[in-house]
Amino acid sequence: MKKCLRCLCQAPLSAKIGILLIISYSFVAIFAPWLAPYGETEVVGDGYAAWSPEFWLGTDNLGRDVLSRLIYGARNTISIAFVTTILAFVVGGLAGLMAAIKGGWIDQGLSRVVDILMAIPQLIFALLILSVVGTNAVSLILVIALLDATRVFRLSRAVAMNVVVQDFVEAARLRGEGLVWLIWREVLPNTLPPLVAEFGLRFCFVFLFISALSFLGLGIQPPTADWGSMVRENAVMISFGDFTPLLPAMAVALLTIGVNFVVDWVLHKTSGLKG
């Protein structure tokens, strides 16, 4: 614990900023109902009201408070992105490790399926599936997780390939260890650093992808607040010289930058790059 704190203190400024950003975003997401001045879907005033002491960031097209929706949007977008990323890592990561350890036709089969999935453009694939199964939070999470799992599979398989040829894995195999032990105790701990770094990046991509889908109207459905759909709903205000609709976009950008700062630092520390 002490070691962790010392490590944090020695982190470069960019990483500290990143950590601070992530913590404040998480704080906002968790305590949204207490922080937001109004309800998520509550119509509290006229449409397109200007910034005022009553509505700090004005109101949107239907007269809902923009600040409140921004705060609730953090909660919805981040939590869905987080769950999706974890799911993508569990599925893709485990499949990748298994393919590397088992080899043979299991590896071939999984790799070819992933090749096929990766050959289809991600956005088009998502649009297709979502328009067939309908858009709700669960199908959104499942579709994006499946798509991102293919990338995670590629990475974890490649990293694990370098580990499974080492003698200690052979020793464990010859001992008669099962697949669970091999994955969990022998291979996974040695593939963790690149996977952790990838987790941060993947989270950003998922997050951007959800926002993009919402912008197109296939992501998180109204009236639920979400940064991507907020941009779309109020885009018309930009033509009147009001930059309020850009605020959710900036919220997305800021979190992405923050996560990247932290990932850079983690990569730097674990890969042993100096200088």
């Binding site: 010859l174 001992r175 022998e186």
Partner: protein, 544 residues
């Protein structure tokens, strides 16, 4: 003028009070601490010492070069009147290749695989020496001939992957000689080669160096090799000079205790035990043939190993000795033949073997670095087989781990919770032994267990293995390419060549003349601690 005086005026390289530091674990640590070195024209200086003694760093420093993460903190390096430390990068480039050349341990990794040998060979000569391409090529062919490469006219047209390891090493030496440099640094040029190949390379290097009257620094950890090559030997330890003397004098009467201990290493020997007559063999391999894909690697291999005995399998790389181990452990399924353990036939695939069958055969690997999971602590590594095979848990497991650590001569208190990265190579190999012993096996397969270790450390490991055998009565299948190791610990010996058993018998019988032809070649190729050995050997070869 006496020869002594002549030498004084003829100093080529002079290093005074050199200090070098390397950056590791966020700190600058000393690698070389105050070395003085003088090299005369045409003289060959041998640098020996164990890994980490600073010999390679010193060798590179003699070229005015330091690796990334190293720096020279003090001292002077003077090459033929030029101060190498204060040279600019351009001036150094002028010297390198032209007046100072370097031959690396792995020629295969040092040649550019995308260019023909001769193009790489003549590059420096043309760039710096201002000679014509045709002339440079003619000189290259001449050098190939001097170094005894086959088909010297055309071999330069080949790519590096089309040559064998020994040929590449000679081609690299030829390249170093291309501009007739005053000084060549040889950094372990034959360490990665088989003994029979090593001889040719050694003879070629020595011949070429004396012919061009080139000075050389020959870095190696093998005493017998340095005895053949060097006029004078410097023994390094912890970055400092342990002893320096002319070769013959040092071989005859080393003075420093560390040097003495290095010399004594080769004297370790155990008594060979006779084969028990009444017993059935513990392990019997019967007429095994195996292949990788379509390439046959083993043909009709048979051997037997009895309880409490050591069977040494010796051969050069590619002779199939490690493949034999893979067949026994079930990692490779043989095309023909069977493996019997304690009278019962083992399933060919290790996945079909029972837990008990797996438990009875354990492995120790060549590279302890990759044989231990870097993310597990020592108690987890040794504890796992205890838990897995014997069902030990909690205090009983911990107690047994302590016993095992004591058995391999590591202090349990100190080492129990360390990670492999906090151990030296020898300590790691000991942990590997403990892990194998934890399973309480009948047979341990030792695959080149000492070849990645320094001689002193390797001797410690051999003694430990022998001691364990006496205590527990385990059998060893000992795979090695080193004749001295076989002579030290085996009870019976199998000699393999190109996937076949060419000689097989008790240790005394194998090491007693008359030898079979290949056995003779293998044994006689092993360098001896006699400075005249190479000459004698070459003369004998010629007579044959």
């Amino acid at each position: 003028m006496s020869t002594e005086q002549e030498k004084h005026t003829d100093v080529l390289l002079e290093i005074r009070n050199l200090h070098l530091e390397g950056f590791s674990d966020e700190k600058w640590k000393p690698i070389v601490r105050g070395i003085d070195l003088t090299l005369h024209r045409g003289e060959v200086l041998g640098l020996i010492g164990e890994s980490g003694a600073g010999k390679s760093t010193l060798g590179l420093a003699a070229m005015g070069y330091t690796k990334d993460g190293c720096r020279i903190t003090q001292g002077s390096i003077c090459f033929d009147g030029i101060d190498l430390i204060n040279c600019s990068a351009d001036e150094l480039r002028q010297l390198h290749g032209l007046r100072i050349a370097y031959v690396a341990q792995s020629a295969a990794a040092s040649f550019n695989p995308a260019h023909r040998l001769i193009d790489q060979h003549i590059e420096t000569a043309i760039r710096n020496g201002g000679i014509k391409r045709q002339q440079a090529k003619a000189e290259a062919v001449e050098l190939y001939r001097i170094l005894g490469l086959p088909d010297p006219e055309n071999i330069g047209q080949r790519y590096p992957h089309q040559l064998s390891g020994g040929q590449l090493q000679r081609a690299m030496t030829a390249m170093a000689l291309a501009c007739h440099p005053d000084l060549i640094i040889f950094d372990e040029p034959t360490t990665a080669l088989d003994v029979t190949t090593q001889i040719d390379v050694l003879a070629a290097i020595r011949n070429a160096v004396s012919r061009f009257h080139t000075a050389a620094i020959y870095i190696t950890h093998d005493l017998a090799v340095v005895a053949q090559m060097a006029d004078r030997i410097m023994v390094l330890r912890y970055g400092q000079l342990a002893e320096e003397a002319p070769t013959r004098k040092m071989l005859k009467a080393p003075e420093n205790p560390y040097t003495l201990s290095l010399w004594a290493v080769r004297c370790f020997k155990s008594e060979a035990k006779p084969r028990p007559t009444a017993e059935a063999p513990l392990l019997a391999i019967e007429n095994i043939s195996a292949s990788y894909g379509k390439n046959p690697v083993l043909s009709d291999v048979s051997m037997q190993l009895f309880k409490g005995q050591t069977l040494a399998v010796i051969g050069e790389s590619g002779s199939g000795k490690s493949t034999t181990a893979r067949v026994i452990t079930g990692l490779l399924q043989p095309d023909q033949g069977q493996v019997l353990f304690a009278g019962e036939v083992l399933p060919k695939d290790f996945r079909q073997r029972s837990k008990t069958q797996l438990q009875q055969i354990q492995m120790i690997y060549q590279h302890p670095d990759t044989a231990l999971n870097p993310r597990q602590r020592i108690n987890e590594i040794i504890g796992r087989p205890l838990e897995f095979y014997l069902g030990l848990k909690g205090a009983a497991k911990e107690q047994r781990i302590r016993e095992l650590l004591s058995m391999i001569e590591l202090d349990p208190e100190e080492f129990m919770y360390r990670r492999p990265s906090e151990l030296s190579g020898g300590q790691k190999q000991r942990v590997c032994i403990a892990r194998a012993l934890a399973a309480e096996p009948e047979l341990i397969i030792c695959d080149e267990v000492t070849s990645a270790l320094d001689q002193l450390v390797a001797e410690g490991i051999l003694k430990l293995l022998k001691q364990v055998q006496e205590q527990l009565g385990v059998s060893y299948l000992f795979i090695t390419h080193d004749v001295a190791t076989v002579r030290a610990i085996s009870d019976e010996v199998v000699i393999m060549q190109q996937g076949k058993v060419v000689d097989y018998g008790a240790r005394e019988a194998i090491f007693k003349p008359p030898f079979k032809p290949y056995t003779d070649l293998l044994f006689s190729s092993e360098p001896q601690m006699d400075p005249d050995w190479l000459d004698t050997h070459l003369a004998r070869q010629q007579a044959n």
